[in-house]
């Protein structure tokens, strides 16, 4: 069903390049993944990959501060970046006749970001990031849920223990030397995937990539991930935490430790998440929201981490006078109910996944990001085209085995938010 064309190439300096042609609309997506994220941060420097992402917009040798945004917006493009546990991505979608502008901008900061770095820029972006932490984590009801869940699921020495945004203290401690070290270590062509998708000529585009990126020297091999990734497949117990916070309604989050996103057969996790929590015919909606009316909303999804482990997340928000214990028990009852699944639930999960993937892939920006992801995680961008087939191959037996293995009481972290903190 999905037949996204992709030509794979590589430069001598190690940069992997994917080119996917689509002449339907005169736009092109340029998407760059650096294989560095919060998992590469050492203690005392949490949040640094994200702070660094901000620094990448402060200019490079040939591009003054803010000029990157200015030029792309001027060209009629949209752009952004994001930091995650396993990668930092930079992306723009613009009218296709501006392709070289995007290549020039990305190459200039990949190769020559340091000459433009100043203490003032670091200070300014440090404040912006602190504001971001306040706005999304500290000032938002339930804002710190992921920080707490990660601390329950992973031991302190594990690279996924700390949140991507980092701590206020560590954000404050980063200095210019850290910036330079980080850049030289991780922002190198041999640690990156560049994907171009849209209205382009593949040969011209590849030549342009060589022209702009070819001179950037390869870096040293990437150092090992700090901390310890050697953890058991499951947590070995149920861990619970209850927080009284300034929240309007009680909410329960439940997380299970799973194999990593790159493991064989991990699609079962995605299928389980869909059966449990996607759509109004999902088990959580049907049982907790519609029938029992103890939750006003419910969710379940696979948290796709690349290395050593990933997570299944599920949960529900209760009504004002709800008993959180009741909410928790209801969630666990549904989890336990996954010991048996029906064929039509599998069909529904596959149908929804297929429609969802096709919807997403309509946008060149999303398509490019997916290709980059499959390249970084699997060294196979074309894997996108067989994704739905893998879901179709998940049988009832595989789902039930997965549930039996990973969703039991020996592998749960439960976080409950109770209204009542603050005033």
């Amino acid at each position: 069903m999905l037949n996204v064309p992709v030509g794979q190439h590589g430069l001598a300096n190690g940069l992997r390049v994917n080119i996917s042609v689509d002449r339907t609309i005169p736009i092109v997506a340029v998407n760059l993944w650096y294989a560095v994220g919060s998992k590469n941060e050492r203690k005392g420097r949490t949040g640094f990959a994200h702070l660094f992402e901000h620094m990448m917009f402060q200019g490079s040798a040939n591009v003054p501060k803010n000029r990157h945004f200015e030029l792309v917006e001027r060209a009629g493009g949209s752009l952004n970046a994001s930091t995650w546990f396993d990668r930092t991505n930079y992306f723009e979608t613009l009218p296709s006749h501006h392709l070289e502008l995007a290549l020039w901008l990305e190459a200039d900061r990949m190769g020559w970001m340091l000459p433009a770095m100043t203490a003032e820029k670091l200070e300014n972006q440090r404040e912006v990031v602190k504001n971001e932490r306040k706005e999304r984590y500290d000032n938002q009801p339930y804002g710190d849920w992921d920080e707490r869940i990660q601390a329950l699921v992973f031991p302190p020495s594990h690279p996924y223990y700390h949140p991507v945004i980092g701590s206020m203290e560590d954000i404050g401690a980063a200095d210019l030397d850290d910036v330079a070290d980080f850049f030289k270590t991780f922002y190198v062509p041999n640690n990156a995937v560049l994907t171009l998708c849209g209205d382009l000529d593949p040969d011209d585009a590849l030549r342009a990539v060589e022209r702009y990126f070819g001179d950037i020297p390869a870096g040293d091999p990437i150092p090992p991930i700090p901390g310890s990734m050697d953890i058991p497949a499951k947590m070995g117990e149920t861990r619970e935490e209850t927080v009284e916070a300034e929240v309007p309604l009680p909410r329960v989050y439940i997380a299970m430790r799973l194999q990593p996103f790159t493991a064989d057969g991990i699609e079962a996790a995605e299928v389980v998440a869909t059966i449990l929590g996607s759509g109004r015919a999902s088990r959580l909606y049907r049982s907790l929201v519609r029938e029992q009316k103890i939750a006003k909303d419910a969710f379940a999804y696979h948290f796709p981490l690349q290395t050593s482990a990933s997570m299944l997340l599920l949960g529900a928000t209760g009504y004002p006078e709800a008993d959180p214990e009741e909410l928790k028990e209801a969630l666990l009852t549904e989890v336990e109910g996954l010991a048996t699944v029906e064929e039509r639930e599998l069909e529904r999960a596959v149908a929804m996944t297929e429609t969802g993937l096709l919807r997403r892939v309509q946008q060149v920006g999303e398509r490019a990001d997916l290709l980059s992801m499959f390249d970084q995680y699997f060294r196979d961008p074309g894997r996108l085209n067989t994704e739905v087939d893998r879901f179709r191959a998940v049988s009832r037996g595989k789902v039930e085995d997965f549930a039996g293995e990973y969703l039991g009481p020996d592998n749960r972290a439960i976080l409950t938010y109770l209204p009542g903190g603050g005033s």
Partner: protein, 457 residues
């Protein structure tokens, strides 16, 4: 490998030749019961989006019925005369389609996206949901309780609270735009099965509705399908068009909504704007882009990049059938609340005084015109665009002439439009934050008396 001779890394690369963009061809027809249908083919991927637009927006309702349009719309998931709610969900999701029910100020939309081969089944189910709702008692009650819980959540989320409060302080109490879109606890509590039935009877009919179909489809087939599926829907005469023009409160003041201990303040600076039908639409778009509609806007470059006050600041007009608000929005650390308000007002005032430079106007035009095709990538996006044509009665060539009209805007027409509509001395500053900390500094600003407002919901 080295770059070819003549290659200059210190120069912005020149663009290539512009590539043409043509809009999906639009076909319009009407079924015998008056349902207006618009169809656009997009066959790159085997998907179709169906959107049924009902003339049932919140803007039509008096304050005691606030939220009823939204509640009636969401109650469609409760089931039909032929299927229960769970059965309806199973039937749709079993073929990979998820129905989305949404109500705004000007319409209620029932939409879904499905694989192209599932179109007949999906259309049939969507039509059934809209034409034959059952409104079962327990489902309606549940959705009402859900809405009450959501209102509670909004009250505690600083961002939503700021949006709702700002509207409340700009518009008069009896004006629909002064209340949250989803309603107030009192009006929501009064909603039940009878209200749902009555509202849908009044507003859900083919002769005031629009059907949008976008995607991998064949025109004669979908025409026949629409006729067959929606044919049985009875037309009705519909009364009432909502309010004529919004009434608003006195501006030139500052309202603080207290969140003791808040580490950040959510700031809104706003006033009544203009309706969607304004002749100033394009110059205002350009004016707004320069002020706060892009990253390289005056507000962003000042409050974020220069001062480090915030992670983001935006400005914008909410164009509705009547005049929705113009608002500047941002979130800043508590300690810099007053300086941030000062800087934002200062940027607005300066722009109204001096106008955009030729460079700024040019950049804004290029940005708006340039990003335009990005809003036509998906069947869902194109369906939304066609929905806008329908709801706001825009000319068929609105989108094909959009970029030309943006390019016609000059710094002069942009500033004229801004000056016609905006008046900083009439604006209301709303701050959701720690009143104890922010009140004093706000009182030192010249933007009017500062009042700590009592919660209104």
């Amino acid at each position: 490998m080295s770059a070819p001779r003549g290659f200059r890394r210190d120069q912005v690369p020149a663009p290539g030749p512009v590539r043409p963009f043509s809009f999906p061809e639009l076909h319009a027809f009407q079924t015998s019961n008056g349902l207006r249908v618009r169809v656009a083919r997009m066959s790159r991927l085997p998907l179709v989006t169906i959107g049924l637009i009902l003339d049932a927006g919140e803007g039509l309702l008096p304050v005691r019925e606030a939220g009823w349009a939204a509640l009636t719309g969401s109650s469609l998931e409760g089931g039909t005369r032929r299927r229960t709610g769970p059965e309806l969900a199973e039937a749709l999701e079993g073929i990979g389609a998820r129905i989305s029910l949404s109500t705004g100020w000007d319409a209620t939309s029932v939409t879904l996206t499905c694989m192209a081969e599932r179109l007949p089944a999906a259309m049939s189910l969507l039509a059934e949901a809209a034409m034959e709702p059952a409104f079962p008692e327990d489902e309606v009650q549940r959705l009402r309780d859900q809405k009450l819980a959501t209102i509670r959540q909004r009250r505690m989320d600083p961002r939503s609270l700021a949006n709702d409060s700002s509207a409340r302080f700009i518009y008069a109490e009896d004006c629909p735009y002064g209340r949250p879109l989803g309603g107030l606890p009192s009006s929501v509590e009064a909603f039940g099965v009878e209200e749902a039935r009555s509202h849908s009877r009044r507003r859900y009919c083919p002769n005031t509705a629009g059907l949008i179909l976008v995607g991998d489809l064949e025109l004669p087939e979908v025409e026949a399908m629409a006729d067959e599926v929606f044919g049985p829907w009875q037309p009705r005469s519909v009364q009432g068009d909502g309010f004529a023009a919004p009434s608003n409160l006195e501006g030139g003041r500052v309202a603080v909504v207290d969140r003791p201990g808040a580490v950040q303040s959510e700031i809104r600076i706003g006033q009544v704007g203009v309706p969607r039908s304004t002749s100033l639409f394009f110059p205002l778009k350009v004016f707004n882009a320069v002020l706060g509609g892009a990253f390289t806007s005056r507000l962003m470059l000042n409050l974020r990049e220069k001062q480090g006050f915030t992670y983001g600041v935006r400005s914008g007009f909410s164009f509705r059938r009547q005049a929705g608000p113009f608002t500047i929005s941002t979130a800043v650390a508590t300690e810099v609340t007053a300086p941030a308000v000062q800087e934002a007002m200062s940027e607005l005032t300066h722009l109204l005084e001096g106008g955009p430079t030729e460079e700024e106007a040019s950049r804004a035009r290029d940005f708006i015109a340039g990003v335009f095709p990005l809003r036509f990538e998906t069947t869902g996006q194109v369906a939304s665009r066609l929905g806008e044509l329908f709801v706001y009665d825009l000319p068929e060539d609105f989108f094909s002439t959009y970029r030309d009209r943006i390019r016609e805007v000059t710094p002069e027409t942009a500033i004229d439009a801004g000056r016609t509509v905006l008046d900083p001395s009439r604006m209301v500053v709303t701050v959701v934050g720690d009143a104890e900390k922010v009140r004093g500094p706000l009182e030192e600003l010249p933007f009017g008396p500062v009042e700590v407002a009592t919660p209104f919901y």
